[in-house]
């Protein structure tokens, strides 16, 4: 009899806890950079508690101009438009330049990010901001340890760090957002998971 009462009390407590938890559970969040506020100051590469910063550059191809003279790729004082070290802006050659086509007398190139080489210094982001702003920084959640108090957030000069829902941990620029929303409205695209689709389109990851 005594055992039955104890078992009943445990069952009731468990049920109550589950019910309370299902209503009072706080939304799980992740750190992320608002790309419209980021100025590419390079703090992301130096303040992260990880040796290799969790912040990496991503490329929004729909915003990219595929420029030959890419200000996100070439040093401001570039000597020539080629891949030589003295002309590259990226300190680790993480921005990969590939010829796409020659159209109307202009040569167009695609720029992708080698994520393993990227150190999140934001130099390309700052450079690209002079043109289309298609390169921007994001916290990569396969690397980020999601500290309660993010060291980069503390150092960020523009308060670009924000908490976002864990199920939608990446952000796109406001301009790209409206473009993608209209694209995602397409029935064929809507069959896929919209968040995953969005990030694939933005970062090609």
């Amino acid at each position: 009899m005594r055992g039955t009462r104890v078992a009943g009390a445990i069952a009731l407590g468990t049920l109550g806890g589950l019910l309370a938890g299902s209503h009072g559970d706080a939304e799980e969040t992740r750190w992320q950079i608002d790309p419209d506020k980021c100025i590419g100051c390079s703090h992301c590469s130096t303040y992260c508690v990880l040796d290799e910063s969790a912040v990496k550059c991503v490329q929004c191809f729909d915003m990219c101009g595929y420029c030959d003279i890419c200000t996100g790729y070439l040093d401001t004082n570039y000597d020539d438009v080629n891949t030589a070290a003295e002309n590259q802006l990226c300190p680790t050659a993480a921005v990969v330049r590939e010829f796409v086509e020659d159209k109307a007398g202009q040569r167009f190139y695609q720029y992708t990010i080698d994520e393993d080489a990227c150190i999140g210094c934001g130099k390309c982001v700052k450079g690209c901001a002079l043109m289309n702003g298609s390169l921007y920084l994001q916290v990569m959640h396969d690397r980020c340890v999601n500290c309660n108090e993010c060291a980069i957030e503390k150092a960020c000069p523009t308060q670009a760090y924000t908490r976002v829902p864990a199920e939608k941990p990446y952000l796109v620029k406001a301009q790209a957002q409206s473009l993608y929303e209209s694209k995602l409205a397409d029935e064929a695209l809507a069959q896929d998971d919209p968040v995953a689709k969005l990030m694939r389109m933005v970062t090609m990851r």
Partner: protein, 631 residues
């Protein structure tokens, strides 16, 4: 079945000495790994390009341009060093990963071995007679616990009480503090309308303001009031602002040599050294050329004799010195390309007006005396303020766009040219932009056209009232508008160019846009109207031409092998294009195509647009002010 190893294993399990050695070796290895990791961590370079030698070589590369052999050798050195630095960087990172796992393993072994030693060393306790001091130890602990908890509670109570009592109200405690929060907008003394509301002026800055006030009072004397401002017709005969008095970038009546050469000085009337850097363009009033220059430490306004190139005067403009609440100076950062003196000056024929990245406007008489100065706080602008000033009637227009799309802090301000007082100011719901306003006359009314993201907005020049707006431009807007025959032409790299008919009111996006084009629009330079064409020069060197009426597809596109910051300028029948490297092209542009008439090289970087007056072209390079002319 025999198990020969069991005795050895059992003996090892009881061998305290062996485990102790293992623990010591593993512990020492852990310490060694930690030490090496710490050394590696603190000796690391977070960015390979910050290496001192690398930076020096890159600087040398710039300095040796023109010396092909030396230049090539340095480029090779950079490439070799780049590979070395990157290899070192990634090797270090790989080492840290391996070392982390080694450390984990060695610490595990050390702890496990130490635990074995402890287990083997464990001895059964020897029970002796309990020694008691007479008191009950449980009762003692109980009293101590209650005392500790009680003491802690009392501490929390007292601390909370202190917090409540000592908390200050956020409201001002007296009328003076309240008044300080709302400075008079017409006040002549410096004021801050930017984001740095916490800024306070230092005593030095206050002294400067007192001087300025005295100068203003002098300027208000009846004798000064007797100076009439030149009429618009007179101003149109001069180059009074960025891209000329009408903002079109056209020097129609100019007759200039079709060929010049800086090296042999053919066609170069004079060239004068520039002391301070600045990407602002020259303005010209009769026989005077005006420019400003600035660094983080010094700012000047200069006047050159247009006939000889002699520096007539150079006036130092005091630096604002705002401080944070803790007394630390506010740090000023601007993009290298923008610099501290990007806005082009303007003149009304009596005074010249300059604006600097620090967000202050200064008026200087034609004699070089500072008449007044107004501060608007460091602009909240990611690249630095670059919108140029425009003298209109008796006011100076300041398009002070700043902030973000979510939190715009922009405004258009009209300052009285004589005193610096605010005549009117209008808030703008747009983020930071770098475009210069254009003043046009339509049906007897002067309109100020401004470009920003996303709105092109027109204001009545007399009172700043908004007349119409058009959703036409996105992202960072740099190009300035031009106008002709009742149509305003605007452009930006995103989304392209647009022609907006004047005469509308409210939102004219759906009603007054004649055409839109999406190819070839620049992000920095301003468009140029040539006959019935609009020319747009992209930063990467492609000059694109559209029919001004029909637009549609480009008439033609021509590539020039340079980057461009200077806007194209029409000089007589020709168009002058000046590249960033100093290369320049004089071309003829017709609907049939674009033909280069002459190519030259200024021999130094040029990012400012030229000024054209009479038979002379004034071009500002990084180091010199050039005057091109036939006589």
């Amino acid at each position: 079945m025999s198990r020969p190893l069991q005795p050895m294993w059992e003996s090892l399990m009881r061998d305290e000495r062996a485990w102790r050695r293992i623990a010591i070796i593993a512990g020492a290895l852990s310490v060694l790994i930690v030490t090496v990791m710490l050394v590696s961590f603190f000796a690391r370079e977070t960015d390979p390009s910050l290496n001192g030698t690398f930076a020096e070589l890159k600087q040398s590369l710039q300095d040796t341009r023109g010396n092909v052999e030396r230049h090539g050798a340095i480029a090779n050195q950079i490439r070799v060093l780049d590979v070395e630095l990157r290899k070192e960087y990634f090797d270090r990172r790989a080492f840290m990963t391996v070392a982390s796992w080694l450390l984990l393993a060695s610490v595990f072994v050390a702890v496990a071995s130490a635990k074995m030693v402890a287990t083997i060393d464990r001895r059964a306790p020897i029970l002796g007679e309990m020694v008691s001091d007479g008191g009950d130890p449980d009762a003692t602990i109980s009293v101590q616990s209650i005392s500790a908890v009680g003491g802690f509670a009392l501490g929390v109570l007292l601390f909370s009480g202190w917090l409540i009592v000592s908390a200050r109200s956020v409201l001002p405690s007296n009328a003076n503090q309240l008044a300080a929060l709302f400075p008079e907008p017409e006040s002549i003394v410096a004021m801050s309308t930017g984001t740095n509301s916490q800024e306070t002026l230092t005593e030095a800055a206050s002294d400067v303001e007192q001087t300025d006030r005295a100068a203003i009072e002098e300027d208000l004397l009846p004798t000064s009031q007797a100076k009439p401002l030149p009429t618009l017709q007179t101003r149109l005969k001069n180059w009074t602002r960025f891209r000329g008095t009408d903002g079109s970038g056209v020097g129609l009546n100019a007759s200039i040599p079709e060929a010049w050469d800086v090296e042999s000085e053919k066609g170069i009337l004079w060239k004068s050294p520039m002391e301070l850097p600045g990407s602002n363009s020259p303005i010209v009033w009769e026989d005077r050329v005006f420019l400003c220059g600035a660094t983080a430490e010094r700012r000047t306004v200069c006047s050159f004799d247009a006939r000889s190139g002699d520096l007539v005067w150079q006036t130092d403009v005091p630096l604002p010195a705002p401080e944070l609440d803790d007394g630390e100076p506010v740090e000023m950062e601007v993009n290298d390309d923008t610099g501290f003196a990007a806005p082009t000056m303007t003149t009304d024929g009596v005074r010249v007006y300059a604006m600097f990245a620090h967000g202050d406007v200064v008026a200087v008489s034609f004699d070089g005396e500072i008449a007044w100065r107004r501060e608007f706080g460091f602009p909240n602008n990611p690249y630095g303020h670059a919108s140029s000033l425009v003298a209109e009637g008796d006011v100076v227009l300041v398009q002070l766009d700043q902030g973000s799309e979510d939190e715009p802090e922009s405004q258009l301000i009209a300052l009285a040219g004589a005193t610096g007082e605010t005549v009117w100011e209008t808030k703008r719901d747009v983020p930071a932009s770098w475009s210069t306003p254009l003043v046009v006359e339509y049906e007897g009314e002067r309109q100020v056209i401004t470009c920003a993201n996303p709105w092109v907005i027109a204001y009545r020049a007399s009172d700043g009232e908004e007349l119409w707006r058009c959703d036409a431009l996105y992202q960072d807007v740099g190009p300035s508008p031009v106008a002709a025959d009742g149509i305003v032409y605007v452009c930006n790299e995103v989304p392209g160019g647009a022609a907006i008919r004047l005469g509308g009111s409210g939102d004219v996006t759906e009603t007054h846009v004649d055409w839109i084009v999406d190819f070839g629009a620049p992000d920095t330079t301003s468009p140029l109207l040539v006959d019935n064409m609009i020319l747009m020069l992209a930063s990467f060197g492609t000059l694109t031409s559209y029919d001004i009426v029909e637009a549609g597809d480009p008439l033609w596109e021509v590539d020039f092998d340079d980057g461009f910051k200077a806007s194209p300028t029409r000089i007589g029948e020709h168009v002058l294009l000046i590249g960033e490297s100093g290369l320049c092209w004089l071309v003829t542009a017709t609907k049939e195509g674009c033909e280069t008439v002459w190519e030259a090289d200024f021999g130094e970087r040029v990012s400012a647009s030229p000024a054209v007056l009479g038979e002379r072209i004034y071009v500002r390079g990084d180091n010199h002010l050039f005057c091109i002319g036939g006589s």
